[in-house]
């Protein structure tokens, strides 16, 4: 951006988000799709303007003396607070733990900021905090600082949690979209769509024969074992809102390369697919909380896959595609019937459809 425009922005002369189109924040601005990205690209990035933000990765990696550190933050506003497989507490801990792991770091310390709504039952808070303790133990991190605020009744969804995390880099690799190369193999750590459907099930009152649980889990253990095996990993990205599709599109755009995947190689449970069919959702865009994609040098792909499959969180790991030399930032997919289509970013959240 030109310096004049930066000054303009800093002085608040003109808001970069076209106000005539979006005078207010919409839910979609938090959906992880195009509008979220617009907010980041057009408002936050230019204003704060530094190479860490420009790398557009899950966390920031910086150096103090000879030690490389990773730093991340995430906020949790999920409704319902409790769902099969976890709650807002487990999400808050694992979310930041995973973001650090995606930088290639060993997660060490977390902070937790609570915004509580007046009237929240104390029992609810107790349950959430206990979940956080269990999740922190499982992920081998410590909660070392925090803050609590209370807002008036009606001004919050019960609990909002923000966590920030710090970790250390023990690998010499630079793990980020910038390191992605044509020919890199893309591995997916497991089946998709469980978290989003687990949440939707509670919201929409869908019953299950066997309950679909969220896949919320800390993947740092698995990632660290892959780094310790000295596999040449170029990029990692955990799948959250926006699903597998959004993660791949983000990386393709940041790396300015093409990605080609095969629909037949993407694992998804049958009941998750059934729920997606009823609601008219595409599993590619449904949220996950314990899955990641790994971009690895082709000569290490097989070893990487073996290692993942030997780990409880990577049993269904699959090779789903590769990076192509096209510098177009597009993700393409070979469909089940053998034709090719583009996988795009959604503008906001998927809405249940009838058509």
């Amino acid at each position: 951006m030109k310096p004049d425009s930066l000054n303009e922005l800093a002085n608040g002369f003109s808001c970069p988000i076209p106000i005539d189109q979006y005078p207010q924040i919409l839910l979609a601005h938090g959906g992880g799709g195009n509008l979220s990205h617009q907010l980041i690209e057009k408002m936050f990035l230019p204003l704060f303007h530094n190479p860490f933000l420009e790398s557009r990765h899950d966390g920031a990696v910086f150096q103090i003396g000879s030690q490389k550190l990773a730093f991340t933050t995430d906020s949790y506003v999920v409704r319902p607070l409790f769902f099969p497989g976890g709650d807002i507490g487990t999400l808050a801990v694992n979310g930041s733990v995973n973001d650090l792991a995606m930088c290639g770091a060993r997660p060490l310390y977390l902070s937790a900021g609570f915004i509580l709504e007046e009237g929240l039952p104390m029992e609810t808070l107790w349950r959430v905090v206990q979940s956080m303790k269990r999740a922190a133990e499982e992920a081998s991190v410590q909660l070392i600082t925090g803050d609590t605020k209370v807002v008036d009744r009606g001004k919050g969804d019960g609990i909002f949690i923000n966590t920030a995390g710090v970790g250390v880099l023990e690998t010499p690799l630079t793990i980020s979209p910038a390191s992605v190369r044509p020919g890199d193999v893309i591995l997916l750590s497991g089946d998709i769509g469980r978290h989003g459907i687990a949440i939707m099930a509670v919201r929409e009152g869908l019953e299950f024969e066997t309950t679909i649980e969220s896949d919320c889990a800390p993947v740092s253990g698995l990632v660290l074992s892959m780094l310790e095996a000295e596999l040449e990993i170029h990029c990692l990205r955990d799948l959250t809102r926006g699903g597998l599709a959004s993660a791949l599109v983000e990386i393709a755009e940041a790396a300015k390369l093409g990605i080609h995947i095969d629909e037949n190689s993407i694992p998804a449970r049958e009941d998750v697919r059934g729920a997606c069919e009823i609601l008219g959702f595409d599993p590619l865009y449904v949220a996950n909380e314990g899955r990641f994609v790994c971009f690895v040098a082709p000569e290490h792909a097989e070893r990487a896959l073996d290692l993942m499959r030997a780990h409880p969180l990577g049993i269904e790991a699959s090779r789903i595609g590769q990076v192509t030399p096209e510098e177009n930032g597009l993700v393409t997919m070979k469909s089940r019937i053998g034709a090719t289509r583009i996988v795009d970013m959604l503008s906001g959240e998927q809405l249940p459809r009838i058509c």
Binding site: L206, F208, E209, E270, E277, I278, C355
Partner: protein, 88 residues
Amino acid sequence: MCLAVPGKILSIEGSDPLLRSGKVDFSGIVKVINLAYVPEAQVGDYVLVHVGFAINTIDEGEARQVFEYLRQMGELAELEENGEKEVK
């Protein structure tokens, strides 16, 4: 208009024909669906469900027809091709 999904009836309840409903299983997801428009449907039948209503039962015999047709037309086409080759 369009999105209708096949599911299997697990149970039926309600004596009033308009309010007749049932639990329908969609590959492991179970939802309560209004069955007023498929009065002849029984437990174990597959129905086509659109916005919470079963709009028809699925005829399992006819379901194979898509593949039967493919097989028949495929064989026919091969015969025709061979016939043309012979003529040439």
